[in-house]
């Protein structure tokens, strides 16, 4: 670690390329904290939005008109408003209005970011799942019905598995978008990667270097997600369906 730090100090002295995150302990800690927070934020929102998205997609086909309209309304609201505006609304407008716990607000900036981004991504995930559900051949559903499956069993055992495989490419798109959207949380002071990098470059005045490091980090995170989704797609491949 010291060798790496020493090399970057040498790099700065000879070429003027300033990458303090490698040799300054305060900057390094902050940058790593930012990286971990981005990964955490992405992971929470990913898992929650997939779960809620599947639920919402299922409810969107409900026989009760009220439920169907409520889900539609929810999707319209969160899909049609800009994510940054949603974040600002939750943190600055809704946050102060809610009751306080021990004088501190109910949710910190990280909490509100998770809430806002999950709701946004649930709306998108619900639409993607709905597309997948409608792509399941009617014949499959009718065959299951004739075998005596209940509505819920059909959804869980026939529709959802097939819909999942159909929506894989669109879902990968969505998840990549989610990781990129977490950078918006910087506007409400969530200590994620872009926020920490902005603090470092404000103090060290090394904007181009930090920008490149940021890009590399995001490409890496997104690349890993892509790889995982590819592997998942391959493992879930059903012969004769959608090839």
């Amino acid at each position: 670690m010291d060798d790496v730090a020493a090399w970057f100090v040498w790099l700065h002295q000879t070429t003027g390329i300033k990458l303090t995150i490698f040799y300054d302990s305060y900057d390094r800690t902050r940058f790593l904290e930012g990286f971990v927070t981005t990964v955490k934020l992405s992971a929470y929102c990913l898992v929650l939005s997939l779960a809620f998205g599947a639920l919402a997609a299922g409810l969107a086909g409900s026989r009760v008109a009220l439920i169907r309209r409520a889900i539609q309304g929810f999707v319209q609201l969160f899909r049609n408003t800009p994510p940054l505006v949603q974040l600002y609304f939750f943190y600055f407008a809704l946050g102060p209005v809610l009751p306080k716990v021990d004088g501190m607000p109910l949710l910190g900036s990280f909490g509100w970011a998770v809430v806002s981004l999950t709701l946004l991504e649930t709306a998108f995930a619900a639409e993607i799942f709905r597309a997948g559900i409608e792509a399941v051949p009617k014949a499959m559903v009718e065959a299951a019905q004739s075998l005596g499956y209940s509505r819920w069993q059909i959804y869980r055992r026939v529709i959802l598995p097939l819909a999942l495989r159909v929506t894989m490419p669109a879902m990968t798109n969505n998840l990549v978008n989610l990781v990129k959207t977490t950078t918006l949380a910087y506007a409400i002071a969530v200590p994620e990667l872009l926020y920490m990098s902005a603090q470092v470059w404000s103090e060290q005045v090394n904007v181009p270097e930090m920008m490149i490091v940021l890009l590399v980090c995001y490409v890496a995170i997104v690349g890993i997600i892509n790889q995982l989704m590819q592997m998942l797609e391959n493992r879930l491949r059903v012969p004769g369906f959608g090839q």
Partner: protein, 271 residues
Amino acid sequence: MQIGNRCRWLGAAAAFALAGSNAALAQVDTMASVKQKGKLVVGVKADYKPFGYTDPSGKIVGLEIDLANDVAKRLGVAIELVPVVAANRMEFLKQGRIDMMIATMAYRPDRAEVIGIPQPFYYAGAANVFAKKNSGLRNWTDLKGKPVCGIQGAYYNRRTGEEFGAQLVVFKGVTEAMAALEGGNCVGTVFDTTFFAGIMGDAKWADYAMMLPSIDPEPWGLGVRKEDTKFAQYITDVSKEWHKTGFILELEKKWGIPQSPYLIDQQKQFK
């Protein structure tokens, strides 16, 4: 005498090259290019009352705008104001988007490496924390582990976070940071004493005050491009005149700012 076609094209190319190189030279001489354009583009704050802020009619006004107008008047050109924030003011200057920058920027040696900051400095501010009067904060060390709102790019953020152990919650602009303070997301906001002096009269902030001893007094510097030595010298001369005539002290009176001991000092020095 018939000039051959080839000679004509060579001549045109040579003329072009000369014109091009002249333009390149003009790039570094801001004063000439400003006089040629007929306007001075100045980067100023638009959210920092009373130094640079937007008045109810939408116009950017403030003490620093008055200083910028004075420079433009002396150069005999019109002025164009470009709103900047702490995180982008130096980049805009380096990129050439603005000719001059007067945006509540504290002088730091590492900032002077990147852009030119002519002396004497036109103002001086210090860091303090604006918190509720009943927050019980007395010393900077009381901030340890507590969430403190701040503004990105401020020079005392690092010290507040590293030395005093506060949990910094920084925002892009001072408006967002003050909104977060109001919402209770932090115990106080760390920023410049001059900003707080500007808002202390507001009824909204009646329960708040500057709770800690002011630290890190930093003179504020006007920014020009590093290679622009001619313009920097011009600004130096103008700044000396400002101090000699007490122009900035008068502006303080106009904007309701308590007299800064730094300015009184500077005036004595240049009398």
